[in-house]
Subunit: 393 residues, 2 copies
């Protein structure tokens, strides 16, 4: 599919513009994969992980039908059935030319600006990113996703703007999806304070979607980046929106949903963030507002953290995560005791025993150890986490 393209001077010059001083073979193979496979194709990802991107491409399109250790024969056969329909080198050339025409750059895994956080997606990680604007925006820390409903209220847009403006002023990259409503308010606020913002699109970076955000996306390109994993010319589809959401969640140190309806796509992004172990914040609102129903659902069903200020959003990634802190505790019984007193209110030994499932004597002993470590403290009415140790639970 791409064997001859490396000799095509036009293709080579375009590739050199998009990604100077790098080997073209790897780039071409990844571009081919981005043409062949839909975002998040786990079979493609497993194949690439096992064989490398170029041999995987050979196997996918022309190689023998051998069964690989990580990729079952049935899955591979089905994958081939999907990919072969797109196995046309002209599509690769079109993708490259279209990207060059809009000044898009190519960022590949291993590149200096590749956000390694995306690797947490495993077999569902993107094979590459098409980037208009400054690729460094992808690797600057911290990155926080401020997302939410297109059908946002004035309340939601005001808060999105306040939070994004505050966080961007402090140097955070505001990641969002370029949509109307909350996304647009977040992007605009970041631009308004001369901050960095990145828009992940579901379609190609050559297409302004939504059309009404053409100017906004152009402004984002000027100082931040507009990014997609699908080639130029690709239309945004429902599936690609859902797939795009995983990139927003994975690339960001924390995700905050400002407003979302009961079935908003933002909940999908939030679900990815939670599944990846990324801190997830939800902004509460009036229970009478349909635009906040999804946020309240996140608080109830996804263990999202209630955030009401930019400072509280900053806390999401400022402290070490729950999982990480627990890992440093050597004794699992200590973890259980800490889990039991996760709230800030004082608990009796008996209640801690009940909650932790440890015998009262055992719970008491663990509390003693944790007290020495300054993690818990005795108070009237029992025990509670020590101040400053509040983010452990």
């Amino acid at each position: 599919m791409i064997d001859s393209l490396g000799d095509d001077p036009d293709v080579c010059s375009a590739l050199d513009e998009m990604r100077p001083h790098e080997h073209r073979g790897e780039a071409l193979a990844r571009i081919a994969w981005s043409v062949l496979a839909e975002p998040g194709d786990g079979v493609a990802g497993a194949l690439i992980a096992e064989l490398g991107v170029r041999e995987a491409l050979d196997v996918a399109l022309v190689g023998p039908s051998r069964v690989h250790s990580g990729v079952g024969g049935q899955a591979l056969a089905e994958g081939r059935a999907r990919w072969k329909a797109r196995g046309d080198s002209r599509a690769v050339v079109d993708a490259i030319r279209s990207a060059r025409d809009v000044g898009a750059r190519l960022v590949l895994p291993g590149d200096a600006n590749w956000p390694v956080a995306l690797d947490d997606l495993g077999a569902h990680a993107p094979t590459l990113l098409w980037v208009r604007g400054d690729p460094r925006s992808l690797s600057v820390d911290p990155r926080v996703a401020i997302i939410g409903a297109r059908a946002a209220s004035g309340y939601g847009e005001m808060l999105a703007a306040e939070f994004a403006g505050d966080l961007a002023t402090a140097g955070a990259v505001i990641v969002s999806g370029g949509a109307y409503g909350i996304d647009g308010a977040a992007h605009r606020a970041a631009l308004g304070v001369d901050g960095r913002t990145v828009a992940f699109l579901a379609g190609g970076v050559d297409r302004a979607y939504p059309q009404g955000h053409r100017d906004l996306l152009r402004r984002i390109v000027d100082t931040g980046a507009v990014v997609s994993e699908v080639p130029c010319g690709t239309a945004p589809t429902k599936w690609r929106f859902l797939a795009r959401n995983r990139l927003i969640a994975a690339v960001s140190q924390a995700t905050v949903v400002v407003e979302a309806g009961w079935r908003s796509g933002s909940l999908n992004t939030a679900g990815h963030a939670a599944a990846l172990g990324r801190p997830l914040g939800a902004v509460p609102g009036p229970v009478t507002s349909a635009a906040s129903a999804g946020c309240h659902r996140l608080l109830r069903e996804y263990d999202a953290r209630c955030v009401t200020t930019a400072a509280e959003i900053r806390e999401l990634w400022g402290g070490a995560s729950h999982a990480q802190e627990h890992a440093v505790l050597s004794d699992p019984d200590q973890v259980r005791v800490l889990d039991a007193i996760a709230g800030r209110s004082a608990l009796s030994i008996l209640e801690i025993s009940r909650r932790s499932g440890l015998a009262p004597e055992k719970a008491s002993a663990m509390l003693g150890v944790l007290e020495l470590d300054g993690v818990v403290r005795r108070v009237e009415g029992g025990w509670q986490k020590a101040r400053g140790g509040g983010r452990r639970g």
Copy 2:
């Protein structure tokens, strides 16, 4: 102090009116304690638990200064210093007469209408309750506290009324504190649907506090109950408000804070509920509203559950509590795995391993067992709690 009162015909007839067919000695001793000790006096509670209410009274006022197993000599000496100042039998007679004058009844531990939930307060349980209205209101299930700020907004009062009206219609007893704002809206809504409601006062039940709720409290007496642990004639003080809050939290199966400022007294009640292991709900509101700041704080700091409808409030006590459900799981490793997937989003084995502190192989084995039990299920992206098992975590 009370030795001669049992022979006073006036006292006896008053007692018989307030609590017919019961031994007067126990009642007199408990009334004496309610006169002597401030609410929640733990030394008094420990003494009563150890010696019984009558011998405790003897020891407190006239007995030898012996050291008891459960009550240290120093604590007892300090207690005596507090109580002796009030050791006047006329105060007991006044309490009884004032109670009779307003038609108050006496409800003692062990009585049919004594809410046994109060016993969870241990040494801080009240020695008795003075009740105007129908004492059965104290023992009808379920009882739910709907509380919040005096300085409530229209939003908060509307929701308090909606929730209380809905829950009272379904038979729940609405417990609150009789204050302006959220409390008043909750009481009124319960009355409005001919439901039961109970007001716990910080002062004596002979005093309408606040004065502006004189009529409201009278209406509550007609169909529900106005309750206090302090004798008639006692003024509501800051301390007694705080002490009263523990009764609201303890007597209710669940506590819901509808609106509360950042330092609202409702957070004190919520803290008692959490410390007692009672389900705690907080109603979110606009982050721009100071009247919701305390609710958001409960969501962030107290692990309160976000509740937005009466149905969600009902879930607070509808399912078994976290601690109880965990207790039925035989294997602590299962508990840890369930704790790890407390959210609704799918988690990988690796993440579950990290969160639970179990080796991946161990976590995997536990998940297999829990899957057989229908508690967890495999989904794309890993594992999550089974639907319907959602309240386990």
